[in-house]
Subunit: 379 residues, 2 copies
DNA sequence: CAGATAAGTTCAGGCATCGAACTATTGATG
DNA sequence: CATCAATAGTTCGATGCCTGAACTTATCTG
């Protein structure tokens, strides 16, 4: 029910009723409870053109529970607090070389970051989202492997609970690419909120990760290891990859490969050269578009997702990727003949993952406020 | 609730309660209603080892509503009736060259087949499933395209309703490969019923189709066009495909390609030659295993589905595909290091699709018996 | 100001499910 | 063989979520 308010802030009770199919009576009582729990606030009456009483504008309360997002990157720890409306209350990024340290050392740092953020916040923390660059079992939150951190089999949630007293606040651990996709859906600027509900978010950083969202819900596969696009085979004759196979997408279109082929030291330099129509840079980008297109056509053929959001490095070079990528996809995707594909650049860039982690925590409350409300009443 | 009875026939009311989390009281009343509507029958008391009253064995009623499945193949129309338990009541296959005829001519034949089957049945028809070799929009049941039939934009459901009086009996139109997967799940012989809940069913016939089942539910993608594996790109240097792209799976591992490479006139001959260790046949099969493995590794990496069921032609040559395919998958699938993949041959073979279509119709009642029960009471 | 229109509230009632007490059936034990 | 513990199944009042319909409040229009 709160979802309707989240998707269109300023909606009236009657509007919510129309949207959700519940009766006005039900909505009224639910909204009353939500207001009592400080999840929703009643605003000024809305303007209306015709006759009739004006509805009061409902919106999620900025003073309600906040979501705390933490991203454990390879060389940084980022934190972020968002309120129920999705507005960022605070954000911080701390460079640390996590690769050089064992998991428990890093988690101690993360715990400290959580502690300070929580104590600084005047409002309540309603949930914590932790984004990690690795494969997480969705049922348990167990981190199976994080190659770029060198971690294996870490129970991030339990480790953090040992180190920070969070009571029974929910901690959700998830893959960074997945959270990035959610962040983009909830916090990105793509027309009307709630319009972007079916898409693949591809982010090219050190690896290539994808977050798949269908009908507004993250698609994680059976156990949570889905959406692994980095090692999709795209070129049977391609170079050997660290995973043992040949011609993986990561090897053909990863950030390292682009920069090497373009002869650029970093992404900024690459963008500069593209702007200056540098031949090598353009050729490298074209090649990336081709391979990425091959891989994404597979994704679209399998999942029938009509929109692709380019994040991370790809977002930076999206103008040069767009046409070729769309072309490649259109020829390869079976359903493309009668249904238009869209390619959009990410609007949150590298912030997407933390934002998504934080927003996930509050969205859990929005999706099912009951546990939160009963907990609040009990206290 | 009936799902629990379907999955383990002979279960007691108490067993259902334990399984579903409902209370004994609730189960009792629900079961009573289901018995009244002839959906469930009470059997003999079960044996038990310890003390305590023995539970009555519940099972779905073989006299209850039946599901009617129809498959519109390229050169046949198959029909099939199954009862609630999944037992086949009757089955028929009629060779017709549907390619040579316009859609409405074929649908008239289908309508006739439905009529005769319905009138022969002493029990009630609870739903109709229609399997077509094409892409169906899941929300509407609209057939977008069926390349091998030469059909485009056909509203199969409406056409059939015009031609057969089915009252308000549900008609579900779906892709043949999807129904085949469901058929295999519900009617196949893979250990305990309910054990096969997450798998990809790949059937190699004229095209290559896949049905993806996750958590016992068909995965169709956003609009229903998901699971299209036939045109996954597997070899960037491969031959041109009719779809416009290069090196599609269908061109590399389709039935035609196998037979041509093996120099065999048909699948029977191919199997004979494989049994006789014919070199060309073995080489062709190895090549198929490689390409199929490449494509399926993509599917598994994206969807994280732990089991692959080989249907159609692939089922026939499964013994020769198995090891190489598993090998290819194990090296390419990221999660394979800690989680075993399984490859199974289909047990229903070419019957899978009609069986699945018929079973889908009754499963809809099992999943939500309320509309059926209220309709029954009203009459 | 009357009339029309729409938002929001109140309250009795329906419906599915629950909880707890009850009855029924069975093997084990002395 | 009587009794007991264990388990299956039933009955019935209680509960909680939601609905439907009537009602109150607020606003525009002529």
């Amino acid at each position: 029910m709160l979802g309707a308010i989240a998707d269109s802030p300023g909606i009236s009770r009657a509007g919510v009723a129309a949207r959700t199919g519940l009766t006005k009576a039900t909505v009224s009582s639910l909204v009353d409870r939500a207001i009592a729990a400080d999840l929703v606030v009643d605003g000024e009456p809305a303007r209306r053109d015709g006759p009739g009483r004006r509805g009061t504008t409902l919106s999620l309360s900025p003073a309600g529970p906040h979501g705390l997002g933490v991203e454990i990157g390879v060389d940084y720890i980022a934190t972020c607090l968002v309120d129920l409306t999705g507005s960022v209350a605070s954000q911080r990024i701390k460079p640390v070389d996590n690769r050089a340290q064992p998991a428990n050392r890093v988690l101690a740092k993360v715990a400290r970051a959580i502690r300070t953020t929580v104590t600084e916040l005047p409002a309540q923390v309603g949930g914590v989202g932790v984004a990690v660059p690795g494969l997480v079992e969705s049922a348990t939150g167990f981190l199976r492997t994080a190659p770029n951190l060198g971690w294996r089999d870490v129970d991030v949630q339990a480790e953090l609970r040992d180190r920070v007293d969070l009571g029974d606040t929910a901690i959700m651990v998830g893959n960074e690419a997945n959270f990035a996709a959610l962040g983009e859906m909830w916090g990105g600027d793509h027309g009307d909120p709630g319009e972007l509900r079916d898409f693949v978010h591809v982010s090219g950083e050190i690896g290539i990760g994808a977050g798949i969202v269908m009908d507004g819900v993250l698609f994680e596969g059976v156990r949570g290891f889905g959406g692994e696009v980095g090692h999709l085979p795209v070129d049977s004759k391609g170079p050997q990859c660290s995973c043992g196979a040949r011609g993986c997408l990561e090897a053909m279109a990863g950030q390292d490969t682009i920069l090497r082929q373009a002869g650029a030291p970093d992404v900024d330099a690459l963008v500069d050269r593209l702007r200056g129509n540098d031949r090598k840079a353009l050729a490298a980008t074209r090649s990336v578009a081709r391979w990425l297109g091959t891989a994404l056509s597979t994704v679209v053929n399998l999942l029938d997702v009509p929109t692709i959001v380019l994040g991370g490095t790809y977002a930076r070079i999206e103008p040069w990727l767009h046409d070729l990528l769309l072309d490649e996809l259109t020829t390869r995707v079976v359903s493309a003949t009668w249904s238009q594909l869209r390619i959009l650049p990410s609007t949150l860039g590298t912030e997407a993952a933390v934002r998504g982690a934080a927003a996930s925590a509050v969205r859990a409350i929005v999706a099912d406020p009951d546990p939160f409300i009963t907990a609040t009443v009990a206290v």
